[in-house]
């Protein structure tokens, strides 16, 4: 754009302190984060359960198979049961590691059928021997197929396991007190560990979820506090800005120092009202804040009997409130001085926003600067790019222009 404008810089040049970046840290989705944490800890428990069951099945149950069974048919049943159990373990494991849940009822039924078949095939002699692998090996698959189901399902399944074992015991006639005591020990021994693993997994996941939920809630509260503080600070700053002009006039009027009939006093009132109106508009949440603020000032001027034309070309980019303030404030002040008509234009170019107010020149005082062919011109710089302000009157028109350039 024109460089000859820059060549005749007159008036003070202010540099303002950089504006702190706006926008509070966005609070994360608390529920989503808690679920993610719970999923992560649950996954560890799933891996542990799958590993224990399959390792037990391979390392302890498999070596026991060769010496089992009183007949080839019985041996075949026991081996088939081992294979079916392995298949169930693989199906449930794959489901669990992929994040899903295995079909609990169907797999539990399959495991119980295997349980009964193997007990029946093993027969009386080997009931308590290592060869009867279902005693201690099958129970590790119960937590697998019942993952994330209620604990009572697991207890019921373990109960069914105990009943099948008891039935086998009674069928083979091993009802001596020693056998029954051994039975009780076995039931207790094989049930306690799977229950502990199952309950532990559930508790860990619940705990992790609760902790994550607490942490995100605390973060959200903190973010809200920061945002509220910022809003309050902005509000206070706006109030200070507005009261600077309004308070003075009101105090003078109240004290009787200012005469409402004095055109200068009226002009100051109009200016203060225009500032207040613009500051109120500033905090509105609208898609196009700069135009909204200018429209607010134009509305007020129009109500005061000014014929005003507001023309906007292009859509201004999102500008920080401080830049908008510097773009709009000089025009608001100039509008308070305007007589008859005003032409307010906003042009958004590729890298700049230019706001201009043209009104007929008159002999009255000049709010925006001392009278003269070239008025003051200032450029305030900050990280968002400089805002340049030119005000001049040439006897025909008063011309106020602010211009922001992207740097």
């Amino acid at each position: 754009m024109s460089t000859d404008l820059d060549a005749r810089a007159v008036g003070p040049v202010h540099r303002l302190a950089p504006i702190p970046a706006t926008g509070a840290p966005a609070p994360t989705d608390a529920a989503g984060a808690a679920i993610a944490v719970a999923d992560a800890s649950d996954r560890a428990a799933r891996i542990a359960a799958v590993t224990i069951a399959l390792a037990w099945h391979l390392a302890i149950d498999l070596p026991a198979l060769p010496g089992v069974g009183s007949s080839p048919a019985a041996s075949a049943v026991v081996a088939a049961g081992w294979l079916v159990t392995a298949a169930v373990g693989v199906v449930a494991g794959v489901r669990l590691l992929r994040g899903g849940l295995p079909p609990a009822r169907r797999l539990a039924a399959v495991l119980l059928v295997v349980d009964a078949a193997v007990f029946a095939a093993v027969g009386g002699g080997q009931l308590f021997a290592a060869a009867n692998w279902v005693w201690g090996g099958l129970v590790w698959f119960f937590p697998l197929v019942l993952w994330r189901r209620p604990v009572r399902w697991l207890l019921a399944l373990l109960g069914a396991h105990a009943v099948i074992a008891l039935a086998a015991l009674l069928a083979s006639g091993a009802t001596a007190p020693a056998d029954l005591a051994r039975y009780a020990m076995y039931v207790y021994g094989v049930s306690s560990l799977p229950v502990a693993v199952f309950v532990g997994g559930v508790a860990l996941a619940a705990l992790a979820q609760a902790r994550a939920g607490t942490a995100t809630a605390a973060l959200a509260v903190e973010a809200e506090r920061v945002a509220a503080e910022r809003v309050q600070a902005e509000r206070r700053a706006r109030l200070a800005l507005a009261s600077g002009t309004a308070e003075e006039v009101l105090a003078a009027l109240a004290a009787g120092d200012a005469d409402p009939a004095d055109p200068e006093v009226r002009r100051r009132c109009v200016l203060a009202a225009a500032r207040l109106r613009r500051l109120i508009a500033e905090s509105d949440d609208v898609p196009d804040p700069l135009l909204h603020e200018l429209r607010a000032a134009a509305d007020l001027a129009e109500r005061n009997g000014l014929s005003i034309e507001l023309v906007a070309v292009g859509v201004p980019p999102e500008l920080p409130v401080e830049v908008r303030r510097r773009l709009a404030d000089p025009l608001t002040a100039a509008l308070a001085d305007a007589r008859d008509w005003a032409r307010l234009t906003v042009v958004t170019g590729p890298d700049e926003v230019v706001v201009s107010l043209v009104t007929p020149d008159h002999d009255g005082p000049d709010a925006s600067g001392p009278p003269g062919p070239t008025g003051p011109r200032e450029a305030d710089g900050d990280e968002n790019g400089p805002v340049e302000h030119v005000h001049e009157r040439d006897g025909e028109i008063r011309w106020t222009q602010t211009r922001w350039r992207r740097t």
Binding site: S2, D4, V311, G314, T345, V347, T348, G349, E396, W399
Partner: protein
């Protein structure tokens, strides 16, 4: 007005024939009244159908066309007339920049916002009759805010002159502000307009504007470069 001596030259002292196309009789009457105050202009025919109006007055030198006819935007008719060499001045209440630039692309000699009034209307028609540009303030605003990536490259002075002209609507004020003569302000503005003859599809009216600008010394041929259509295949590929 800007174009007086020349208008007399081209037409040999004869009044310039104007046709008005609008679907609102009250607007036709209003524009006719505006033009009637200028003795060098004569309204030959009016109506709401461009073809019928031009059949009635085939010798019309300038067509004032309301862009919105019977509820639809007449861009295709505008392009057809411009391609045939008709000098069409579009006037419309639709003053959003996109519409204005699209009208220029389609070959309109000038775009006039309906609210811009008598003075601009007469000046635009007189300039159009001699294939000279006239940029009313609203059009200047559209050109300076043109966001299209393939917009014509305007010089800093041209942009500044367009911007200030749009803001103040007074070439005298722009001249004082830019510390140049009013004549130079007009040159900057007109030169920017001539650069827009390269945008959009080619039209006989655009060629005429360009030729007259070169003849008048407003631009040199090398400043404008050769016209290159968006559709042509000789664009360098990246």
């Amino acid at each position: 007005m800007d174009a007086d001596p020349v208008a007399a030259d081209v037409t040999g002292g004869r009044p310039i024939g104007v046709a008005i196309v609008d679907d609102h009789p009250v607007v036709i009457d209003g524009v006719r009244a505006w033009l009637a105050s200028e003795p060098r202009l004569r309204v030959l025919a009016t109506g709401d159908d461009p073809d019928a109006v031009l059949r009635a007055a085939p010798e019309a030198e300038v067509v004032l066309l309301d862009l919105r006819l019977h509820g639809r935007m007449a861009f295709d008719k505008l392009a057809e007339l411009s391609a045939a060499g008709r000098r069409v001045v579009v006037y419309s209440q639709h003053t959003d920049p996109d519409t204005m630039l699209a009208a220029l692309d389609a070959g309109a000699v000038a775009f006039l916002a309906k609210h811009e009034g008598r003075e601009h209307c007469v000046a635009t028609v007189l300039a159009a009759a001699s294939d000279r540009p006239y940029v009313p303030p609203a059009l200047a605003g559209a050109m300076v805010g043109d966001p299209r990536p393939d917009r014509p490259a305007l010089s800093d002075k041209e942009r500044e002159a367009l911007l200030l002209w749009f803001q103040s609507m007074s070439k005298a004020s722009v001249a004082r502000r830019m510390r140049i003569s009013e004549h130079t302000v007009k040159q900057y503005v007109d030169r920017a307009r001539i650069k827009y003859t390269r945008a959009g599809r080619p039209a006989a009216t655009k060629a005429a504007l360009l030729a007259r600008a070169i003849e008048d010394g407003l631009v040199r041929p090398e400043e404008i470069g050769t016209y290159r259509s968006q559709a042509s295949t000789d664009r360098p590929t990246p």
